[in-house]
């Protein structure tokens, strides 16, 4: 009797799912039924993305190792691509990969966590979190009374929704494992901090016409650019979220923030993230924590990979200090002028705006 018919997608699922389960088991993580469902849903969602671009799973250009990593993250963090609203999304990107000395282009699936995905992570891994209740979208015409402490006694907030006006704050009622109910509040006005960080990031290559290229800027030009940037950011701080409507500032703000139709959902997402991301998580497994970090911070993940592969691998020692000869007398003549302009010094992790006098080199 022949094997039962399988769709292409089922074959793919049967290939990846056992591999993911075995890798998680090897890292001390048990894959429950829901994790398995998350993997299947992710494969289906990735399949839709690939289909849309006319790429098959066996395409040589597709980086399949990356897909395995993504499925591991989905399984360990229990993110459901079929949930509504979505917890996780996938998109296809072209990335340059070094093979030997050559750069080659590969197609890679990229994963991103949606706002509801962060809620799911909080519900599953939040430290001392027993239950995350549906969050409150408090609008400007609603009646809202803030919670109050009287010593250790706690009076919960009061909310009478009207459904009118813009969302001005978000409240997450969260039940902790000690049975206490906490109300975490995020205000619309505080999103201006996220906006400033966003504008700062968008202005990374901005030279304000002072010079052509920020990498070729002289120290003086760099100072001029820094002054202009701080002027822009100061103005944005003064205007608060009103900066989103300011034509002069809009050039430094992405459309997802400034366009009317997407603005509200962006502000709500930021308000939610300002609560959810700050509540500590306990992943119970260093492996799962690492996978979480990989998703939240891909730059860090790349550095981690490099360090894991190379750090502390090669033992070196001074074999016999008495047998070593002094350095033979040879002089070296430099053939080039100094290639280290003062403005291109080491950042050392400090804010250059803070350390800007002549003696201080950042």
């Amino acid at each position: 009797m022949g094997e039962p018919f399988q769709t292409g997608l089922a074959k793919i699922t049967n290939t990846f799912a056992p591999m993911i389960e075995s890798q998680l088991m090897n890292n001390g993580v048990n894959m429950d039924q829901y994790s398995k469902q998350c993997v299947i849903n992710a494969i289906s969602a990735i399949n839709t993305v690939l289909d849309g671009k006319g790429i098959t799973w066996s395409d040589e250009q597709l980086d399949r190792n990356n897909i395995t990593e993504i499925l591991l993250r989905v399984a360990s963090l229990k993110l459901n691509a079929s949930a509504s609203p979505k917890e996780v999304f996938f998109q296809l990107r072209n990335v340059k990969i070094k093979v030997g000395d050559k750069d080659i282009w590969k197609k890679q699936i990229e994963m991103g966590i949606e706002g509801d995905g962060n809620d799911a992570i909080l519900a599953n891994f939040g430290r001392n979190v027993s239950k995350v209740y549906p969050y409150w979208l408090v609008r400007e015409h609603d009646q809202f009374v803030y919670p109050k402490f009287r010593g250790v006694e706690y009076e919960p907030p009061e909310w009478s929704p009207t459904g009118q006006g813009e969302v001005i704050r978000i409240v997450y009622p969260i039940l902790h494992t000690d049975k206490t109910l906490h109300y975490y509040i995020s205000e619309r006005a505080d999103v201006v901090k996220n906006l400033i960080a966003h504008m700062n990031n968008n202005m990374m290559n901005e030279t304000f016409g002072v010079c052509q290229d920020r990498f070729k800027a002289t120290t003086d030009q760099k100072k001029q650019i820094a002054v202009k940037k701080s002027e822009v950011l100061k103005r944005a701080k003064e205007l608060g979220l009103g900066a989103l409507d300011e034509p002069d500032l809009q050039q430094y703000i992405s459309p997802a923030w400034s366009e009317y139709q997407s603005r509200e959902s962006m502000l709500i997402r930021k308000m939610r993230n300002n609560i959810v991301k700050k509540i500590p998580k306990d992943f119970g497994s260093a492996f799962v924590e690492m996978l979480h970090d990989d998703v939240i911070d891909p730059d860090y993940a790349e550095v981690r990979r490099e360090i894991n592969e190379n750090a502390n691998t090669e033992l070196i020692d001074i074999p016999d200090s008495t047998a070593t000869q002094p350095l033979k007398e040879e002089t070296y003549t430099s053939t080039s002028e100094s290639k280290s302009p003062p403005g291109d010094e080491d950042i050392s992790g400090d804010d250059p705006q803070i350390e800007s006098n002549d003696e201080v080199l950042f």
């Binding site: 502390n312 070196i316 200090s321 804010d351 350390e355 080199l361």
Partner: protein, 235 residues
């Protein structure tokens, strides 16, 4: 017994004097020459040589003046070229080729920083002390045996950096560069765990970032990790 004196340890400048009682060395020269003179109480004459890890001015600012003062500078060809150093006082050294200065045997080794040819140094003296000097690198490929003294950069902690980025106080691009050029508390701990630290008498934490570090916390965590005496170099 090694005596370690910190003249300054931050992005504003780095310099350290080490001595085994017989030979004194200067590690880094990241301040104006006059400042180094003053910090050493004008005792430059007993400095047998100056080792420089890389070309950034907070590590090499006084190099030309030190050479003019008659003290040999030991650094890589890449660093010498980038700083435009030349002359008979310049001694070009290479990774994994050891040499001696007085009672010290020194093994330079490669480190990971965004400059031309940066080096770290393993130093052993005739009394049996062994010191590793490791700064401005985001990890170290090498492990060492029988260390008695460790001088290692501990620039930032990831959680502090993340908080500052989220608050808009640190640019994400700076964070990215930081991760690929400086040693984090987390990576220093891993490096120390990977090495045999049973004989270590002293660990010096160097080059703490002004904004992204917490000296007390770093000291405590490294002490918990190694059980050794930990000192934080004055900025």
């Amino acid at each position: 017994m090694i005596d370690i004196q910190c003249l300054g340890s931050s992005s504003a400048g780095n310099a350290y004097r080490i001595s085994d009682g017989l030979t004194a060395l200067l590690l880094e020269a990241g301040f104006p020459y006059k400042s180094i003179q003053r910090a050493l109480n004008f005792g430059m004459s007993d400095i047998a040589g100056c080792l420089i890890t890389h070309e950034h001015l907070d590590h090499s600012k006084a190099a030309p003046d030190i050479m003019r003062a008659g003290i040999n500078i030991y650094t890589s060809a890449g660093t010498a070229a980038a700083r435009g150093l030349s002359g008979h006082r310049l001694k070009v050294i290479k990774a994994l080729e050891q040499f001696t200065i007085g009672t010290w045997t020194i093994l330079p080794f490669d480190i990971q920083h965004d400059v031309e040819e940066p080096l770290g140094f393993l130093l052993a003296n005739t009394a049996g002390d062994k010191l590793v000097f490791l700064t401005d690198t985001y990890y170290c490929r090498h492990r060492f045996s029988g260390l008695t003294h460790i001088m290692v950069e501990c620039n930032y902690s990831r959680d502090i950096v993340n908080e500052r980025v989220a608050a808009g106080h640190l640019h994400p691009a700076q964070k990215k560069r930081l991760m690929r050029s400086h040693f984090s508390l987390e990576n220093v701990k891993e490096m120390l765990k990977a090495n045999d630290t049973r004989n270590v008498e002293e660990i010096w934490l160097l080059h703490l970032s002004d904004g992204n570090s917490d000296a007390e916390r770093f000291k405590q965590e490294i002490q918990e990790t190694t059980g050794a005496l930990v000192r934080v170099a004055d900025r």
